[in-house]
Symmetry: C2
Subunit: 520 residues, 2 copies
């Protein structure tokens, strides 16, 4: 029996080697078990039936003044990255809240730009926290208008738009919401719900001090019934995408630098020294490479996929609905991407996009990056890396596993510098707050796609976790060009354009506050 025994022993290492060569099969991305093919249908939620004709009429009568409020907001510069107009905008917001009848308004100092807190006591049973960001992105080249802060109304193929920095991200929808509040108070003298406004001036900087902004009122805010961020979520054709959360993120730098371990420590040296001198650049490359399979698509850091949650039936139903009208080719065309990873499409692509943690190199640099030939052995190399965290994978765990993996593989000398980190946030589609929104959307005949969360990240855990509230970011309305030239918000749609204009946006906010007061 010697021969068969030898054979099986020879085969064993071959199998292991073959598994190692195809690392993807050794450490696959999660397989997501699926238990239902039912699809969520927002049309089954009864359309909101309330009528508030007096307020609607007031909005129609005041619409020019309401447009002027949006213009006033965008004309006030508030570029957080350049500290341009920030305090004036914080003051403008605080003054507007005062003028609307907010009993308490505070400008909250932070280590960065100030926040603004407001409290409107309607004596109502329900309380809504309204999140606002009053800062905007810097200005890029190539705007078609001379001054992105002029607050111009521009004739656009979709109708009349407000074209300005901040028009849709996020001053337009936020002031539209306050216009609705204004019309309700002007008509009835009060609101159907109490309101907190919690505003920051550093959203475009990653909200580093938002925790400080809400801290003074933390106990009060936690007693609210839900949180909301006004946002234009309609496409030009009127279809809306409501995302019930966001992924978390860790964003960090990895850096290799010569030192006691080896490599040039003071400056680059001649490239011919490589036979004698360790290369920090190659060490960084090896460290990054050690974190994924050769295709760059599967994370091989031990345990990294372990905490990823199994899709619930509710999430499966949402994904099934999204998959029904998925158009991968159109999204790929828009992005300039020929194919998704491995040629996947449809539901698989949606599930992976939502549930897979990612590891992505945002930037990478070392040594000589100019034209032509320069032979140096650089003394340092740096990478910017982000990992998107679905619900279940905490930033602390992510950092711990990454550092542990580097150390376990001998990359002790690679410095890991955390720059940002926060967990995912998500709210159930069954939450009364979400149901109220969808009911109002149905009243306006909006075809709404609902996703359990976005693949992108935002620190909305501050609402779902710090405050413990259901959280919705959305609303009728259409805009485009956030972080880009020619940013706009649609004010008066042209004939046949499906997206709501300013008057309908404001009326839908009126309905939402009433729906919340009734059903939250």
């Amino acid at each position: 029996m010697t021969f068969p025994r030898m054979l099986s022993c020879l085969l064993a290492p071959m199998l292991v080697l073959s598994m190692h060569d195809s690392a993807a099969s050794e450490t696959p991305r999660p397989a997501y078990a699926w238990s239902t093919d039912e699809a969520f249908d927002p049309g089954t939620i009864p359309a909101y039936g309330g009528k508030h004709d007096a307020v609607y009429a007031r909005i129609d009568a005041d619409i020019d003044a309401h447009v002027a409020h949006l213009q006033r907001w965008v004309r006030q510069r508030s570029i957080s990255a350049q500290d341009d107009g920030i305090r004036d905008m914080a003051r403008l917001l605080a003054d507007d809240l005062h003028a609307l009848g907010f009993a308490e308004v505070e400008v909250v100092e932070t280590p960065g730009h100030p926040g603004v807190l407001g409290w409107y006591d309607a004596g109502a049973e329900r309380t809504l926290v309204v999140y606002m960001m009053y800062d905007v992105q810097p200005i890029e080249e190539n705007w078609r208008i001379d001054d992105p802060f002029a607050g111009e109304l521009v004739e656009h193929e979709l109708g009349t738009v407000l074209m300005a920095r901040g028009a849709t991200n996020q001053k337009g929808p936020q002031r539209a919401f306050l216009n609705a509040v204004d019309a309700m108070i002007a008509t009835h003298g009060t609101l159907p719900v109490n309101l907190y406004v919690v505003a920051e001036g550093e959203e475009e900087l990653g909200s580093p001090n938002f925790g400080k902004v809400i801290e003074p009122w933390l106990d009060r805010l936690r007693k609210a019934d839900g949180a909301f961020f006004p946002m234009n979520i309609q496409m030009a054709d009127g279809k809306a995408s409501l995302n019930l959360g966001v992924k978390g993120i860790v964003y960090f730098e990895l850096e290799a630098k010569g030192g006691e371990w080896g490599g040039p420590s003071k400056a680059e040296i001649h490239g011919s020294m490589k036979a004698l001198v360790d290369s920090p650049t190659l060490r960084l490359v090896q460290a990054i490479a050690s974190m994924t399979t050769p295709d760059g698509n599967t994370i091989v850091i031990p345990g990294y996929y372990d905490a990823v949650a199994v899709p619930t039936v509710e999430q499966q139903r949402l994904v099934n609905a999204l998959a029904r009208d998925a158009n991968d080719a159109a999204v790929q065309r828009a992005l300039g991407v020929s194919r998704w990873i491995g040629g996947m499409e449809g539901r698989e692509a949606i599930v992976r996009n939502l549930f897979d943690p990612t590891l992505n190199v945002d930037g990478l640099w070392s040594g000589y990056t100019g034209e032509g030939v320069k032979t140096i052995l650089p003394h340092m190399a740096t990478a910017k890396i982000d990992s998107r965290l679905p619900p279940g994978l905490e930033p602390e765990a992510s950092y711990r596993m990454i550092r542990g993996h580097l150390d376990a593989n001998g990359f002790d000398e690679i410095e890991l510098r955390p720059m940002s980190g926060y967990p995912a946030a998500s709210t159930s589609v069954d939450a009364p707050l979400v149901q109220a929104f969808l009911g109002v959307f149905n009243k306006y005949g909006v075809d709404t796609r609902v996703s359990p969360w976005l693949a992108g990240s935002a620190p909305f855990y501050q609402f779902t976790r710090t405050l413990g509230l259901p959280f919705v970011f959305g609303g009728l309305g259409h805009g485009a060009g956030a972080h880009a030239p020619d940013e706009y918000m649609l004010i008066r749609p042209a004939q046949g354009v499906g997206a709501a204009g300013l008057a309908d946006i404001e009326k839908s906010y009126v309905d939402i506050l009433h729906a919340l007061s009734e059903g939250l």
Copy 2:
């Protein structure tokens, strides 16, 4: 017997995995067999005994005019990278050769800067090819003198120096050689050897057209007896390092870019898309990482070490001599390096530096490299990489193995753009040309270290392979600051400084030409 059989089968894959984890032991760098501990001693070569007092006296009498020639050369700008003064310098060199009595002088046009060819027919038996570069590096910041082209004599701790761009790299030693030629012709009306001068104006650009420069006279040049590049190779204390060759090099860019295979093809996209979209940056990182062990120090491209030559007894004797007064700590201090790879030192470090092929990342860049957080999935990533080639490893073979390795590992989409490539060059220490140099060095009491070649690269294969000649780059004299501020050449050494001054440099060149005429 079932249990032991299972056990051995379980152990087998563990062993394989453990081998894979320690890739260095799987694919080690070459082990260099050593057969002798004898050390080469240049002191055993008889000191050159010729006396040429009339020429020496002429040099001493004319030394101020000779210094003025060096000043005239460095005052003529000739920055090849900026095409600054190039044609004027080519003309100046051609005119000087004419004035010295070179019968044929040609300015050779190339696709780049022109070359200069000169022929001095002494009617002698022996013929020497003298290589010259007439271009210089651009000017950096932080020179202590106002004008690096003023040709100033400066009082330095070592004595009087000519401080200027090109003073030591390479106008000073080249014109010093022509001063010696001038003195010999002035004294005796002719030279003991015939001379070719082959000069280029693109050495600092990597000599892309040097082949074109020598092409018109190729057949004539191949009939010469040796080739020589005047160079100051003394340290300030007088010790000299004579290197009998150089490594070759391939220098190339690797680039990953989104395309049909996947990834963003037009521009960066949002970083959160990583779950769906391949990352060109991670692919480049993986491709580079696949070429070395995790420590970045052993090349795992199949066959890459196979062509490396075994050190000959002659090379072993040279290395043994170098190892006797190796001072790793001093070199490491100068470079700002704490240790050589793996803590090696002495002879092992010398052997690896000379004989190991290298793989070095000179530069690397992708995506966002600014301050702070920006989350993008870049559409391209680029690396500049060089590999130093010891004798035996040809650039064509190197490129073929690298491309083959990338393809074999599935990195077909990674573009490899060759930017440079040439083989090593080396001349035997036993060549009469080398023996003549060492004999003259011994006459001047110079303590000379002789290395089989440099770890650095230069296209000297044009002499050893294209022309098929023994080649020496060296000479008495001391300078510093090539490619750096405050470049100088020592003209009149201070008391106690061991390096030769201009007069002795020129006298040694007189001796070398005579030694060649007698012994070549």
